[in-house]
Amino acid sequence: MPITGTSENEGAALLRHYEQLLVIRRCEERLQRLFAEGEVPGFIHLGIGQEAISVGVMSALQPADTLASTHRGHGHALAKGMPLEGFFAELLARDTGVCRGRGGSMHVADMSIGMLGANGIVGAGLSIATGSALAHKLKGNGQIAVSFFGDGALAEGLLHECGNIASLMKLPLLLVCEANGWSEFSPASSQIAFNLAKWSAAYGIIYRKVDGNDVVAVAEAAAALTEAIRSGGGPALLTCTTHRWRGHFEGDAQKYRNADEPEPRDPTVVAEEHLAAAGVGAQRLAQIAARVESEIEDAITKARAAPPARFDAALADVYTSASSGEAL
């Protein structure tokens, strides 16, 4: 379908972004229900409202680029290309899960697409991505590494250590702060005394700040920064302001939140506005939504039918080589 008012490529990209936004949103809405119904065990941290950051940043990445994620990592995994069935199977603790049911929500990972893992430790992904960027640089493969983190991680020492090292070594590293205003249960303003623009300037790191609810703005900024990084400019930091719609974790009563928080902009609605301006009709969007929902239901059905995680296989995978401990 020709899209007026914009180039065909841009229109196609926008539609792809929209579909990815919907995939992440609908997946997490389904997880919300599956968790409430007791089908998904453990802790899950939803990023509903923050999807445009994952989609926008990932649109600037190549398949072999790597990323290290956070405890709120579903969007990063799905936007980089994690298959839905493996994703849901993992959350449902199945043997067919991407991590064979050993990691769960907080550790979804897919090495085949450079997704080096969600992470249960705030800020840990900073050093993993920095190391991955070092590997890219030494191999001279033209790839970059991305570290996603939230406001809470700004208080971790690793931000300083990794910012310093990445700048010194001019590593191909993109730091993405998903600034949702919260550090777990506390307002970021009560936890963080500095701002990232000045921080970046002090470390000699390229800095941009965008509306993290606008996938077009995020994608444009990410494209510009990744180009600068790939051309040897050293690390860059992108702050994406956004809003955490849900609690820190599912089940969080959120008594700390104020009723007078501003109404968040919905990234899917923002994208729909862009698409409407580009002449894409509601019918087309409805088709996409129907397909996304059908794919998700299909993945959940398959995940539910899959065998549960296996203890013997887990025990055998503590070490790689045969000369190891209990796995012998």
Binding site: T66, A68, G97, V98, C99, R100, G101, R102, G103, H107, A109, D110, M111, S112, L116, G117, N119, G120, I121, A124, L126, S127, I128, A129, T130, G131, S132, A133, L134, A135, H136, L138, K139, A145, G157, L158, E161, C162, N164, I165, L168, A314, D317, V318, Y319, T320, S321, S323, S324, G325, L328
Partner: protein, 326 residues
């Protein structure tokens, strides 16, 4: 047989591993230009260049995490942490990331990194530059822990550690760096997880690793004059440790003493004693006795440190206790 110092053997193993495998890099604080605090990496910068011999800032948490990320991205990093005491700052990377990545990601990836670090006292380095913390790492599923006692096994075990697909904590003893020893004419890797009997004997099995193997050997010499024959086993690898070798020796002697420089409580000796009390119970003819440091930080004073560290005399006393000849 050729002669090599312990430190030079480690240096040689690093150079040979880098020669053999272009994905091996070494990184750490002052390891390139300065050649390392103990001079172990001297000369490697000239040989392999700054791309593979990387000086890092004093950022233990970051560089350990970077080693994990680099290992997950196709390199084999060998990270030097200047003193084992400083590994406390690298614990998240080692315990939560390196150790668990393979398991928690469903075996999609291994983390082929080595963390080299010196432990041990004897040089008045004080409470924060002398600790033996290997039991901490041995307690974490997913990590391997190696502790060489001689130039020959320092070389061979480090080659095996670097070639190993899993994260290995390679614990050197700073007191041994200058010590000379015989090494084979043709240097080769020594498999991880295998102990070696460094002295055969009949009456008491003495299990040791690292620098205290020499102390166990001194005790064996001393007791030989009393017709007490010790079988000394150098564990070489602490995790996974060679249970079969220790059990086989215990089956022969019926008595067991475990020696290490680390504090006795909750240590490697406790694990070995517990396992042997279980699987080796039928062979035991007396109590299993441990020789380790007392439950206190490592003191600075040379006098105090001498009392603190295990000695041949303490091993001799432990053997007598094991034999019921106190």
């Amino acid at each position: 047989m050729a002669q090599l110092r312990y430190g030079a053997a480690i240096s040689q193993a690093l150079a040979d591993a880098m020669e053999a495998d272009p994905t091996v890099i070494i990184m750490g604080e002052d390891i390139a230009g300065a050649g390392g605090s103990f001079g172990i990496t001297r000369g490697l910068l000239d040989k392999f260049g700054p791309g593979r011999v990387i000086d890092t800032p004093i950022s233990e948490a970051a560089i350990a995490g970077m080693a994990v990320g680099a290992a997950m991205s196709g390199l084999k990093p060998v990270l030097e942490i200047m003193f084992m005491d400083f590994t406390t700052l690298a614990m998240d990377a080692m315990v939560n990331q390196a150790a668990k990545a393979r398991f928690m990601f469903g075996a999609q990836v291994s983390v082929p990194m080595v963390l080299r670090t010196p432990h041990g006292g004897g040089v008045s380095a004080g409470p924060q530059h002398s600790q033996c913390l290997e039991a901490w790492f041995a307690h974490v599923p997913g990590l391997k822990v190696v502790c060489p006692s001689s130039p020959a096994n320092a070389y061979g075990l480090l080659r095996a550690a670097i070639a190993d697909p899993d994260p290995v904590v390679f614990v050197e003893h700073k007191g041994l760096y200058g010590q000379r020893g015989e090494v084979p004419q043709v240097l080769a890797a020594i498999p991880l997880g295998e102990a070696v009997t460094v002295r055969a004997g009949d009456h008491v099995t003495v299990v040791a690793y690292g620098a205290v193997v020499a102390i166990a050997m001194q005790a064996a010499e001393h007791l030989a004059s009393e017709a007490i024959s010790l079988e000394v086993i150098d564990l070489q690898t602490i995790q996974p440790w060679d249970e079969a070798a220790v059990l086989a020796s215990l089956a022969k002697t019926g008595h067991l003493v475990v020696v290490h420089e680390a504090v006795e409580q909750f240590g490697v000796g406790a694990e070995i004693a517990a396992r042997m009390a279980d699987v080796g119970f039928a062979h035991l003819k007396g109590p299993i006795v441990r020789v380790g440091a007392p439950f206190m930080p490592v003191p600075f004073s040379a006098e105090l440190e001498m009392q603190y560290r295990p000695s041949a005399a303490r091993v001799v006393a432990a053997v007598r206790k094991a034999l019921g000849k106190e």
